[in-house]
Subunit: 165 residues, 2 copies
């Protein structure tokens, strides 16, 4: 089974979380006119008995085609991934639910200027990046107990995405 | 009065907040070995009756030399600025206190791979960037009431920093 990557957009990603981007939005002028502020680009949910945490993930490029074998979810907090570079990366998700609906797993590819914020409960593959090692800023919730469940797929999905030639 | 920009480092910035960088740290291997996680790079304080918020600031380059005429502070929450590019930017701060000590205002210049997280109460100039328009991810606290006090300096300070020739 192959998984086709769709272009990431706010509308397409609505069931899974937020697309962190300024495209199509108008900013508010602040700082004596030197800055446009694009406010509240993600619904961060970082409390719930835990605390807000900020990390940097340094990821190796995933070999393509890539075997999607498992998904994970965090029930208690959102998780945001913002690339510290301007290259597309794939986002593999399935809607919240007791288990992922294997037939409705979706893959999105960012346009290079987008991050994502996964809603609590959204099933997702761990961070993948393409082409070269890449740094991501990650904002999530940390708590006393581990808030990560993993689901192994009965059949792996094959995600194939190469940079546009 | 001129303000000299010092290189930003964790040690030098300790009184003001966190430097968000991976340099000198060892990560933890996650995601089946594909990712190094550099955890908890900032002490985010985003609660205090408010909520965590995420913004993108698109800033015009500040003309150099730049007149530092005022500082501001947020008492109830931290404020993080992470560049979405790899160019240095200046950070002008003064230690928390009822008013900034004008003789102890300091300017730092990032190395291009650093962000900052300002501790609640740290006096700071609004975001400045150099050379070309730049995008920053901003993570701060939003609440019902505005949490921003501004202090006008009796004498402006002149910040002069040009890119290394």
């Amino acid at each position: 089974m192959r998984l086709r990557a769709e272009p990431l957009s706010r509308a397409a990603f609505e069931a899974f979380g937020d697309v962190i981007e300024t495209s199509g939005l108008s900013g508010e002028s602040i700082n004596r006119g030197s800055t446009q502020k694009f406010a509240d680009l993600a619904r961060l949910e970082l409390g719930n008995g835990g605390r807000a945490a900020l990390h940097i993930f340094k990821s190796e490029a995933a070999p393509m085609p890539f075997r999607i074998e498992s998904l994970e979810r965090h029930m208690l907090g959102s998780q945001a991934f913002i690339p510290l570079h301007d290259r597309p990366f794939p986002v593999v998700v399935a809607a919240p639910g007791d288990e992922p609906d294997a037939g409705r797993i979706r893959a999105f590819i960012t346009n290079g200027c987008q991050g994502v914020n996964l809603r609590p409960g959204t099933w997702h593959h761990y961070l993948l990046c393409l082409g070269q090692p890449s740094d991501f800023l990650v904002i999530d919730r940390e708590g006393e107990q581990v808030d990560c469940e993993t689901w192994e797929l009965a059949e792996p999905l094959i995600l194939d995405y190469g940079p546009t030639p």
